[in-house]
Symmetry: C2
Subunit: 206 residues, 2 copies
């Protein structure tokens, strides 16, 4: 079930219809969840023909992908760097708490969950996502961690990709598998455990 991505031209044919379809996909995913989401439902909500949707997108996953891309392109923060006040722990807590807020909003989290399912099924869609949506965000994270490394706040031999996983992974997993409540306290605990490790801490100097 490899995804054949529509040519970029096709989606530009009618920007208003395209936007209506993508907005409908986001709304419906939030309302009914992945399993009940269908191309037919998206078309009906958008007031478009089913064939119009099928002509431009090969699957509901492909529609959701472009819908989330539309959201991120409309997001003024997208080009920004992660905060850097010089205090890595505080900055990471700020970022993860904001992510907790987003993941508790079904208008964002349900389309993201539906896309996650499609990515597991469809490696071509997953590769497309990684290239266009995930990598830019991961680059921001890596840059912030490298700045902390240069400032002596991370070990000089820390593996930055693994550090990203330790800091951001637990939140993603708890969300994706519904393993527990997503709270600001959990975000803080993850940041502290990832930075400090699990072993007993040496007594603070002074």
């Amino acid at each position: 079930m490899a995804t054949q991505r529509r040519s970029p031209d096709a989606t530009r044919r009618n920007p208003a219809v395209r936007r209506a379809i993508l907005t409908a996909a986001l709304e419906l995913a939030a309302e009914v969840g992945y399993a009940q989401l269908s191309i037919e439902g998206i078309a009906a909500r958008a007031g478009a023909g089913k064939q119009t949707v099928y002509r431009w997108w090969p699957s509901k996953g492909a529609v959701l992908f472009d819908a989330l891309l539309m959201l991120s392109e409309g997001d003024a923060d997208q080009a920004a760097e992660l905060p850097d006040t010089g205090d890595l722990e505080a900055d990471l807590k700020t970022v993860l708490r904001a992510t907790v807020e987003e993941l508790n909003d079904p208008r964002i989290s349900e389309p993201m969950r539906a896309l996650a399912v499609e990515m597991l099924i469809d490696p071509a869609l997953a590769a497309d996502y990684t290239e266009r949506l995930d990598r830019p965000v991961k680059d921001l994270k890596r840059r912030r961690l490298r700045a902390a490394q240069a400032a002596g706040q991370l070990a000089t031999d820390a593996d930055i990709d693994l550090a990203v996983e330790l800091i951001w992974g637990p939140l993603r997993n708890r969300w994706l598998y519904r393993e527990g409540p997503l709270t600001a306290e959990f975000a803080d605990a993850v940041v502290e455990a990832a930075l400090n490790g699990l072993r007993p801490q040496p007594p603070a100097a002074g």
Copy 2:
């Protein structure tokens, strides 16, 4: 798409046919992957009628779930504890390296990946999995970490559930999202980073 689990009685009607179906599901998932896996294909491989499979299982995810349960029940290690030589870091590396071996074996990893997809789609199946397959394994992990905590090798205030996530999460994610190669070196790096944290280490006492 909630899973209606078949009654336990039904699956005991013919143990040989049941075993043939579950074995076929494991083999086919390894060979063709989640998207191409179908009840029809499983029935044909098992030499059983399609209706027989449908009578006992409501979805391919439910078949896979029982197939993986059959594997784990046949696994003599299942009842065992995680290794405890007194050296937490060495023991965790042993365990994670064994997991790396399993995840690099498509006969195990492809059925697991297919089940992971079904769990994201089907909350009832996910709850069943959590109760019957995931929780016993997580309990082993927690017990080993609590023993380490009692031995002073983990911080007394370490959150054990979060510790499980930091230690086992990165491997699961790298596998599920195909984010990189699964190697013994990666297993070791994860254990070290989770235990030691990302901050610069104080010089070892001499």
